[in-house]
Symmetry: C2
Subunit: 452 residues, 2 copies
């Protein structure tokens, strides 16, 4: 047996004791979210949908925030997650690069999402709130919050983007197994949903619309809060357990990445894997951090850095971020979790300040990468994760040409067990690469809110 392990494992004692807050290492402080009047939104307005303890994290500039023991206890169900050295993929590619990946698909819901679902359910319960609404795209977030609610006795209602509800019926069954209610969004249960359906009864939904619905319900019920699976600072914060563990795992094998890749929709997966390395970069270390997005929803690579709504209908505060315009409707690609018009303000700011990079990859090529990965490494990746696989393989192939033995690292954010219908279509040659939707983006960018 070779001395270099295939899996780099940590002990339960190595589950991080603190989350890392990248705000402490930003060159300039983050810009605040603004209300309809153009003034910063105070915590008091946010308390209608979020508990105070989470808002404190949202606003915090502390570098390290302690993880409560009750949360670490639940993390122990699947954390620390394994890191793999992709020996077989390296051989299949014939690259001199070393490839490592961290695998978040070992969580009960099969992705990185429970890293924040668990603390969000727990902090709400601490604040006396026993009911949560949320949205879900591919279903990874909704099932994660369903699981988290079940762990702490918190009721969960999920608005699921209609196209995913149809493409991934078994994600719904999974949420129900964990006791959650699930509806296909847009629904006729909210003003936001009804307004969309009135214009377009066949609307396939989007993350933006589903967010509008979930926020509207939470704001209108005093017993209910809202929970978001990405974008916000406290969500990115919770996900840093990924990168923090990865750094310990690299230390264990005496290596360190030259480049870190994470797929990027709302930004929490990328933040989770990359931010802890950004701390090193801020301290002078040479490491490139690459956010990977779909060419069909190219927020970071083709969007503008501007104030925009987090949802589709203007229900949320406006945030400074890369955006394609809040009413941009992305094509129905199979990586449902990456179909978001905006991006995390923290990820956006870091890109704007040149501390991270972004690339966009087309749909068919991501599935090619996913199949190549599955045939080499065994694990079948989620379509979202295939984006990171694609970008990492592309870099490994560049290394093959240049002969550079770079150390590459990506986060395999989830497995594809609920995405096999998408793989089916790929094998049948039915997947398309969408043209860069320039006109739709230009149209929606014309609707950006005016600030100041």
């Amino acid at each position: 047996m070779s001395d270099m392990p295939t899996k780099i494992l940590l002990d339960e004692k190595d589950i991080p004791t603190h989350w890392y807050n990248v705000v402490a290492d930003l060159p300039s402080p983050p810009l605040p979210p603004l209300g309809p009047d153009g003034n910063p939104v105070g915590p008091e307005q946010m308390l209608a949908i979020f508990p105070g303890n989470l808002l404190e994290q949202e606003m915090s500039a502390e570098r390290w925030i302690a993880i409560p023991e009750e949360i670490r206890e639940v993390y122990r169900i699947w954390r620390p997650t394994p890191m793999f050295r992709a020996h077989r993929l390296e051989r299949a590619l014939g690259t001199p690069a070393k490839i490592y990946y961290k695998y978040e698909g070992v969580s009960p819901s099969g992705s990185h999402k429970p890293n924040t679902a668990i603390p969000q359910a727990w902090y709400n319960k601490q604040a006396g709130v026993h009911r949560l609404t949320t949205e879900t795209g591919a279903g990874q977030w909704g099932s994660s919050l369903a699981f988290a609610g079940q762990m702490f006795g918190v009721e969960v209602r999920v608005y699921m983007v209609k196209i995913s509800y149809q493409q991934k019926p078994f994600r719904r069954s999974m949420m129900q197994t964990w006791g959650a209610e699930v509806f296909a969004s847009p629904t006729d249960m909210t003003n936001a949903g009804r307004a969309i359906l009135e214009k377009d009864p066949n609307n396939q939904g989007s993350l933006g619309i589903a967010i509008s619905e979930a926020v509207e319900e939470a704001a209108s019920r005093s017993d209910t809060n809202y929970s978001l699976g990405s974008v916000l600072n406290h969500v990115c914060l919770h996900q840093t357990v990924i990168g923090l563990e990865a750094k310990k795992q690299f230390e264990k094998v005496g290596d360190y990445p030259d480049m870190v890749f994470g797929c990027c929709g709302g930004g929490s997966n990328f933040a989770g894997v990359a931010f802890p390395f950004l701390a090193d970069k801020a301290a002078g270390k040479n490491v490139r951090l690459v956010a990977v997005e779909p060419t069909s929803c190219p927020t970071l690579t083709k969007g503008v850095y501007a104030y925009d709504y987090g949802d589709a209908t203007g229900y949320t505060p406006i945030m400074k971020m890369y955006t394609l315009g809040h009413d941009f409707m992305p094509p129905g690609i199979h990586a449902g979790g990456l179909r978001y018009h905006g991006d995390s303000p923290l990820v956006s700011q870091l890109l704007h300040e040149g501390l991270i990079e972004a690339v966009a990859v087309p749909q068919v090529a991501t599935f090619e990468a996913g199949v190549q990965f599955a045939r080499a490494e065994g694990i079948i990746p989620a379509p979202e994760s295939c984006h990171a696989v694609r970008a990492c393989i592309d870099e490994a192939l560049r290394c093959k040409q240049t002969g550079e033995p770079k150390t590459l690292f990506f986060n395999l954010s989830g497995h594809g067990h609920f995405d096999m219908a998408s793989y089916d279509r790929f094998f049948a040659g039915q997947l398309e690469d969408f043209e860069y939707p320039r006109e739709a983006i230009e149209a929606s960018l014309a609707h950006l809110p005016k600030v100041g």
Copy 2:
């Protein structure tokens, strides 16, 4: 953080170096398989479908058989598998029992099956055979062999029981992702399949029929061997990595089980978790080993111990085992992997000699147990695994009544990610408990082959 871990993990160096062969500890030698003439089948006849190196294992009485390094290298993708202490389930049940489970769902195909698929593909390749046929019930075995074939460059063709092919289309996509061909059995590609379809064009298939088809093709092509996912001695042998690791894990926490549970269809899962503990029992240790089967296919609890065919149509040699008769057609329950008329000859002999026990549990109660487990522990179990969960929970509830703090252990053989349609039906109240199918069993037992 409590000192008692949730996950009991081993290092890659702890992957067993040898498989344990229970034949060395049997009170009497196993009875040989017999041919149509009533005489023992010699290895030369078996060589038409199996390689010599695997037949050697099939016949061996050596207690320990070395695991080749190339196989241990692939095992490292997912082994050692974690063992969990089910703290949350214990609390939910209010039982004084301690509950442990080993989780085989972390393998790429999501079950224990790759433990034998990997060595079978490798030994065939060593013997110069680059093409394999097989059958699959729930799809767990077929996807595991597809994965194994991909690891070693061996082509794989899978005959999939028609009812599962329809209920679990995504298992098929998974096999295709790993490059295998898949057909719904009975097919019109074999004599066995055509004979069944002639009598009953809507035949839903069974493991027995699919075995007939795969064996027929392998026997008729010199470039092709057959691979079986359960029943045979060498399959049970390979699965013992489960129990061997479990014993190390119990040692690590200073505990030992009073009872071990495994679901039992063809017997390989039960053998894998239980046989290594049987070695201790043979050495005087007090441990109860319980095979758990469905009441609708009650081979061990209602069958007879007799010589019978391994397949449905009499293509294979006859083996001494518990059987419901080779032409018994089990009801279409959702635990497709447990719908087999016979059982492993080794498991059967151990039951006959009183060294192990068997219980049968009804379908609806197994899903109730699965949901209770998922809500407490997070992981959603496969319907097959739900049988072991049910039996273990039943015992934990008995402990609650008697106050006994027993140590209970079961193997969670796989996850239920491809079985959510079955959970859906359970939630919709559409699952039935089948009556003990006495008449069908009596009819098929009348067709047992005559011996001697």
